[in-house]
Amino acid sequence: MKTSRRKFLNIALGTSFFGWIVSVIYPIFTYLKPPKIPEAVVNSIKAGTASDFPANSGKIVKFGRVPVLVIKTVEGNFRAFAGTCTHLDCIVQYRDDLKQIWCACHNGLYDLRGINVSGPPPRPLEEFAVDVQNDEIFITKKLS
């Protein structure tokens, strides 16, 4: 009877010790390989390589929680604007035929300075700074 109680105590001690070790090691392990968590504030992102970006085209990239439209003009200059239309928040796109930024929802047009030029958009698009360093495109929030 005494032996079986001691045996039970040893098993409980061994198992719980193993559990305790796991509960100590697991957080250390997850700390070394952390889960994805959203960044609180994003001020700058890399948006790919400049040489891979065709001229007269645009693409939407993630800037934290907001989409940003990056454009490479016919002349090869980069520009970046908030990707949501100032009218009803639809995602805008670059129209290579018009060489303007277009919102498909209500035919809103912005020029390549992000200024609303026709259609319902009430305000210009917010502009982001673009910097190309060593062929890498960096998009940065402009200081207001």
């Binding site: 040893n10 796991v22 509960s23 697991y26 968590i37 498909a104 259609g119 319902p120």
Partner: protein, 416 residues
């Protein structure tokens, strides 16, 4: 102490002088130099609609700027002498030309508003209002009816009768008055219908100035009702894709042959109701069944398109619900948000493609959107799984540690 009080008194006097000077500077000088205004204020004979922020007054144009006369004398007879250029109040018929003296002159307008158009009068006489005025109708709108006479402000000014938010109310003054409009054979419920429409709600309730007011479809100075041929083009100004799809669809020819108005047949015009997927179905709210009946191609297409749309919307709603759950659990929602945003864009596109009346095109786009929604759902599931792993992991760790402590206690006791 006495010198201190003197200093205080001087500072107070200087402050008063500064504030008096500022007030005087802020005040429009015409209130002190223009004898028309000085006398008319004194005798309390100012126009009922007079506003000191009137754009002409702000530019230094006082009464004489429009009515002529001599504002430099306080003698009423001299001031309002015809020989000194006094023209008085123009009749309704004279008003467009009266305003046009300046507004049709590039040379004059260049001094005040170089970028303003100078063809308003010309445009006006192409409008129904202008044509009727020419025919001697004294009730139709001329410049003053819409712009007011003495409280004219820039259309960008929220107080202006021509500001987008105020335009429906301005047009309503005449067009919603059955008594005033009884001799013209047109309805008077446009404003009432507009206020409940998707455009009216956006403009008047949500203050979305991108939403059309009366003038955006009917024109400003050349106000003319859009004809049968131009209705779709007017709607297509903003709803460009809808128009393009419709124009290249087989329905365009059928509508034209049947003399059905392209957009308004299904959507209405002043009372454009918010669209729903039920419109393209065979249910109670269907607009397709107005012409199509069971067994014909249009009826089958409506059934198929509605099914594709509802299946997609169901998946989209499911993904959105998951996103809310993720937000509530405090997990990373960025990728889900982006996937859902793409799904939403695709949903808008799919709904626009309805105007092709081609079930295959709608199905293809709906499938693409569904995949995006499913991607968002799967991402959300992973996040939820991760959430529960963390929660249960914490629970198990607590249990193990408790057992370990208790077992350790007994072990130590047994060793003693």
């Amino acid at each position: 102490m006495k010198s201190f009080l003197i200093i205080i008194w001087i500072i107070a006097a200087m402050l008063m002088l500064i504030s008096t000077r500022s007030a005087a500077q802020d005040k429009n000088p015409v209130f002190e130099t223009d004898d028309c205004i000085i006398c008319h204020i004194q005798i309390e004979m100012m126009p009922a609609d007079f506003h000191q922020n009137d754009i002409h007054l702000q530019e230094g144009l006082s009464c004489a700027g429009c009515h002529g006369g001599d504002p430099s004398t306080d003698d009423p007879e001299l001031a309002m002498d015809r020989e000194r250029g006094f023209v008085g109040v123009p009749s309704r018929q004279e008003t467009p030309e009266f305003c046009g003296k300046c507004h049709s002159s590039i040379e004059v307008m260049r001094k005040f508003r170089p970028r303003i158009a100078t063809d308003q009068v010309e445009q006006y006489f192409t409008s129904i209002h202008g044509q009727k005025l020419k025919q001697g109708d004294k009730k139709v709108a001329e410049c003053v009816a819409c712009h007011t006479a003495h409280s004219i402000m820039s259309a960008n000014d929220g107080r202006a009768s021509t500001h987008p938010l105020n335009v429906p109310g301005t047009c309503k003054t005449c067009h919603s008055d059955p008594e005033y409009m009884k001799e013209y054979d047109i309805p008077t419920d446009q404003f009432e219908n507009f206020t409940v429409s998707v455009h009216g709600t956006a403009l008047l309730d949500n203050k979305d100035t991108g939403s059309p007011a009366c003038n955006d479809c009917h024109g400003n100075h050349g106000a003319t009702p859009p004809g049968l041929e131009s209705v779709s083009h007017i709607c297509g100004t903003c709803h460009a894709n809808n128009l393009n799809y419709f124009s290249s669809s087989p329905m365009e020819k059928a509508f034209r042959e049947m003399e059905i108005h392209a957009c308004e047949q299904c959507h209405g015009y002043h009372e454009v109701i918010p669209t729903s997927d039920e419109m393209i179905s065979v249910g109670e709210k269907s607009v397709c069944t107005t012409c199509h009946s069971e067994g014909d191609v249009g009826y089958t297409a409506a059934v198929e398109i509605h099914k594709d749309l509802t299946d997609f919307v169901q998946k989209y709603n499911e993904a959105e619900k998951k996103l809310q759950e993720i937000k509530k659990k405090g997990m990373d929602d960025v990728d889900i948000l982006f996937a859902l945003q793409e799904a939403n864009q695709t949903l808008i596109h799919t709904r626009t493609l309805v105007h092709t009346f081609d079930p295959l095109q709608v199905e293809e786009k709906a499938e693409e959107g569904k995949e995006k929604a499913i991607e968002a759902i799967n991402l959300a599931r992973q996040e939820i799984e991760d959430f529960y792993i963390r929660r249960y992991g914490f629970g198990f760790a607590t249990i193990f540690i408790t057992i370990f402590v208790v077992a350790l206690y007994f072990k130590v006791r047994s060793l003693d």
